[in-house]
Symmetry: C2
Subunit: 200 residues, 2 copies
């Protein structure tokens, strides 16, 4: 039975996510998603040319909706110190990745796999996050809380220096440790590298 109503991208991605979760990322095909939606596989192939494209689109939506949007809200706040906001931003990023890995291991493994190949999706996601972090850092510099520096370079440095806590390649290490202790050590070191000396 096929359905002739035009499908929105969101509807397709909802169905794709549901099928990926039910059958597992390795076993899900574009045809399986078409069946759930009650459309021909030709219709679905016009949106996603391959299984890889489907997986990438689902990952991209997750990164946007569950990572970038909540972090955007934190970067846009104006209350409190820049250091506190930066810490909250990083804590939220790290907690989001750990929660996803712990609660949905199979989808997380798919996301980790996609990040290795979907270079453009990841680059544009990371660029967006770097812009958010740079806003927080820039404000800290203007308020004299942080030392003068290139806010975007500092954002990149902090993101790379905290990879062990949010990059999906490190998932194996997350489950065996207390989440906050090792990060606390790194955070103290990074913070002491950016605060202006009359603040510390």
């Amino acid at each position: 039975m096929t359905n002739d109503l035009p499908l929105s991208k969101e509807q397709i991605l909802d169905a794709a996510e549901q099928v990926l979760r039910r059958f597992g990322p390795d076993k899900t095909s574009v045809v399986d998603v078409a069946k759930v939606l009650g459309v021909s596989h030709g219709t679905l192939y016009r949106h996603f040319a391959s299984k890889a494209a489907l997986r990438e689109a689902v990952t991209e939506r997750w990164l946007h909706r569950s990572v970038a949007i909540p972090l955007e809200d934190i970067a846009a706040r104006k209350d409190g110190s820049a250091a506190d906001r930066l810490r909250l931003w990083l804590d939220t990023l790290i907690a989001g990745k750990r929660k996803f890995a712990a609660e949905d291991a199979e989808m997380f493994a798919m996301y980790a796999e996609v990040t290795l190949h979907a270079v453009e999706i990841i680059a544009s996601h990371v660029d967006r996050l770097m812009g958010q972090m740079a806003v927080i850092i820039e404000e800290g510099i203007i308020k004299g809380e942080f030392k003068p520096a290139s806010s975007i370079k500092t954002a990149n440095a902090i993101f790379m220096a905290t990879s062990r806590f949010h990059h999906p390649a490190h998932v194996a290490e997350w489950s065996s440790e207390h989440p906050n202790e090792p990060f606390e050590l790194v955070w103290e070191l990074l913070l002491s590298g950016i605060v202006s000396s009359h603040e510390s």
Copy 2:
């Protein structure tokens, strides 16, 4: 034809490495190594109870001989500043991992896989490296070059904050970038976190 001379651990590991390299880590069995050495597989199983044990022993030797020993020499030096020595120690660690990944991709993949499971081997290797770094940092603190802090905690923080550049899980990112640029950003931030303010 079997050989009755007692085998040293080094001889066995030399043969194992040679066979792993020739057949590939996935296809090498303990029996293949026994054949190369001209001993019964019973003899070899007394040394390595499984294929996994063989792979772990080869990885452990590589970590010891090609990573820990060269870094030990750097940590033991007394010339120059602590910051320069710390940078050389990190550069050597990073260059060693990149060289291994680039020149011997299959063995590197085996090492990356082993590190996920051989928790004790990796913990004892990392402890040794942390001791080396702490020696360099401690000297920087005594000379007034670095701020007073726990040298072992600082060593751990720097090691974690540079994971992206030496942890095998990041191998996919290394090949597509200029090796020094991103590390330089992180290094500047970390250094500015540890130098004492009258030095900077």
